[in-house]
């Protein structure tokens, strides 16, 4: 009996084994090698406030605006939300799936002593899993900064890239076409503070030090342009160069030890120089009779890109930081100037002029392809965010000088808060990543 049973089992086993070979597959294999570049839909539900009065900042609103401005996310408007949970237990994921939201952020601001404790949680709407959850202690004065800090952490978790929302920008504000002020503000334009002012003489070309403590800039305070260095915390100012002719376009090297700038090597002949900040010694980099100006450093500090019209009209050139024969880099059109290298060193932002119109464009250094990102016609002074995801620049809107931010893929555009009539904003520069507490 057992032998018969064994043989039957054996047969069944063999037959079963044979079946998959004889029959068709039940698994499809598909390769996915492409996706979309659109903003990922996210919802930041207004945080619940546990405390007296009102919090000093609408934290959820700041987070939503930050993420949307980066171009990588699109925050759902509060009026479109089907529910507004502030605890994980109150979340009904169907209400978010139906809106095709990918990630959900909820939170609470709790008044604690003289400050706040901010708790937030991020969920993947489809897997229902909590991706991250933190609690941050802060003061009333720093609540907005904390909101930016939360934006940074969410951005990093969901994109793998460091967020730049706690960084700062500097720019020049001109009132009535003659009153100049050098301003430092948050990367979204809030909390603007003047660090230097001049009644009638222009301020130009601010540049951040890599540690975010100092700004170099050009001031015409003695009816002559000179390069100054100012510590924005202490206010201490130092004159770096006031030679005859041009003193302009200062820019820090990535290690903070040198400053490249434009000086007149002889009347009417601007050239690129590098100053050692410790010794104040100058090293001349370019030697042509043409205009050589607007230097910028590569992220490894080994090369300088600059504008030169040695070929007839302004184009971008590259030269070793030690000096040598510059190589031309741009060949599109007859006017390319004010190059800025992206933090990853792979692309150059610049101003491209076409038929008298100025556009901010980005050139991929590997392929040489130039892509126009803006269409204002008077767009200039581009500056990369330190995470390379956005570019801030100066534009003219309704006859007024304004600041705009554009994502590097050109998809998202935002105008920073406009000012009253008669006030123009120029020359924005994006500051570096800051270590916490600054």
């Amino acid at each position: 009996m057992t032998m018969l049973r064994n043989s039957v089992f054996l047969t069944i086993a063999v037959v079963l084994l044979l079946l998959p070979i004889a029959g068709p597959h039940a698994t499809l294999e598909i390769e996915i090698t492409s996706g979309v570049n659109t903003a990922s839909p996210i919802a930041v539900v207004p945080f619940r406030y546990d405390g007296v009065g009102q919090p000093t900042t609408d934290v959820a609103d700041v987070i939503g605006s930050d993420l949307t401005r980066s171009g990588r996310f699109k925050a759902l408007g509060v009026k479109d939300m089907l529910e507004k949970p502030t605890e994980a237990s109150a979340v009904n994921f169907n209400n978010w799936q139906v809106l095709k939201i990918n990630d959900l952020v909820i939170g609470r601001v709790k008044q604690v002593g003289g400050g706040y404790s901010v708790e937030y949680q991020v969920f993947n709407v489809y897997t229902h899993q909590q991706i991250m959850g933190y609690s941050v202690a802060t003061s009333a004065a720093r609540l907005r900064y904390t909101a930016h800090f939360i934006s940074d952490t969410i951005y990093q978790k969901l994109t793998g890239q460091r967020g730049a929302f706690t960084t700062r920008i500097a720019y020049v504000e001109i009132s009535g076409h003659e009153h100049y002020a050098l301003i430092v503000a948050d990367s979204d334009g809030y909390n603007a503070q003047p660090v230097f002012e001049s009644a009638t003489q222009p301020i130009l070309s601010p540049a951040w030090s890599p540690d975010g403590h100092q700004i170099a800039y050009v001031s015409f305070e003695n009816t002559m342009p000179a390069v100054y260095l100012q510590d924005i915390y202490s206010g201490k100012r130092e004159l770096l160069s006031r030679r005859e002719g041009i003193n302009g376009a200062p820019v820090f090297s990535p290690d903070g030890k040198s400053l490249a700038m434009t000086l007149s090597s002889s009347p009417g002949n601007p050239d690129i120089y590098v100053m050692d900040l410790a010794t104040k010694q100058l090293r001349r980099i370019t030697t042509s009779d043409a205009i050589d100006t607007e230097p910028t450093w590569s992220p490894d500090g080994q090369s300088l890109y600059f504008t030169s019209d040695r070929g007839g009209t302004p184009q971008i050139y590259k030269v070793s930081a030690k000096g040598g024969e510059p190589q031309r880099v741009t060949f599109d059109g007859s006017y390319n100037a004010d190059a800025q290298v992206s933090p990853d060193g792979r692309s150059l932002a610049m101003v491209h002029r076409d038929s008298g119109n100025l556009y901010v464009s980005v050139m991929d250094l590997a392929s040489g392809t130039l892509t126009t990102l803006t269409n204002g016609g008077l767009d200039k002074s581009p500056s990369f965010a330190p995470n390379g995801s956005m570019i801030i620049y100066a534009a003219t809107y309704h006859d007024q000088g304004v600041l705009e931010e554009v994502s590097v893929d050109g998809q998202v555009h935002e105008r920073l808060s406009e000012r009253q009539n008669g006030v123009d904003v120029h020359a924005p520069v994006w500051g570096p990543f800051l270590t916490s507490g600054q």
């Binding site: 064994n6 063999v14 996915i32 090698t33 489809y126 793998g160």
Partner: protein, 253 residues
């Protein structure tokens, strides 16, 4: 040694059983092909006859002609015999002559009959050949038709399967927001289970060399694409009950 025959027996049973199954399979295969000729309802006999009718008429005609001739000769013969009987006495040699003629005619008739018989035999042989060739041709044509139909069906199913793959692929592509941290050598394998209707019931990354953000984006993409597109032919569904998706870093256009 006593145990041997007992030990062998199960093996014998087993072999017999297996042999029987195999035989069954083999035989059943052949059976399917021999079922083919039962198509239509034509009488294979009818067709070849058509072809010989003309010949038959001709031969009949010939035969009739020969018969007529023969009859004629008969009549003549009779006439001659009459003459002979009246002229018997007169011309014995003439009778001999006549006899000779008759025997000649008979010979002729014989050769013609032989000819006819030969033609008839040829005709029959031809008819037989036609019948076999025709049937074989039919059988071959039908076998070819069936094989080609099967090939078409397989090709159609294969192309429909491809189309289904493309539909699924496109829907996932449209829902995959690629994060900036995607590494150049990304290769992320995701195993997906779906139920009829396309609803994704499970999506899990197995081998994946992307960071958290990338894995999140991929899993989200699969769920956002749910319900997955239905196959163009419902019978294909079971072939894609599970999906093995390999995500690679998109190349710039």
């Amino acid at each position: 040694m006593d145990a041997n025959p007992h030990r062998l027996r199960p093996w014998v049973y087993s072999l017999l059983l297996h042999g029987g199954i195999v035989l069954f399979l083999v035989l059943s295969f052949h059976w399917s092909s021999s079922l083919i000729p039962s198509l239509g309802g034509h009488n294979p006999e009818a067709e070849p006859v058509k072809a010989t009718v003309v010949d038959q008429a001709l031969i009949d005609q010939q035969m009739a002609m020969l018969k007529a001739e023969q009859q004629k000769k008969q009549a003549e013969k009779q006439q001659l015999e009459q003459n002979i009987s009246s002229l018997k006495q007169q011309q014995a040699s003439a009778q001999q002559q006549l006899n000779q003629q008759v025997s000649d005619l008979q010979k002729q008739a014989q050769t013609e009959q032989d000819k006819l018989a030969k033609l008839k035999a040829q005709d029959q042989a031809l008819a037989q050949k036609q019948k076999t060739a025709d049937t074989n041709a039919r059988r071959k044509a039908l076998a070819d038709e069936i094989a080609s139909e099967e090939r078409n069906r397989d090709a159609r199913m294969a192309s429909l399967l491809q189309k289904w793959e493309a539909l699924i692929q496109q829907k996932i592509i449209n829902n995959w927001v690629v994060p900036p941290s995607t590494n150049d050598d990304l290769s992320c394998l995701v195993l997906v289970t779906q139920v009829p209707g396309g609803t994704v019931t499970n999506a899990q990354a197995s081998t994946c060399n992307g960071d958290d953000a990338v894995v999140q984006s991929i899993i989200t993409a699969v769920y956002r694409a749910s319900p997955l597109p239905a196959p163009p032919d419902p019978s294909l569904f079971y072939q894609g009950r599970t999906l093995k998706l390999t995500f690679k870093k998109p190349q710039p256009p």
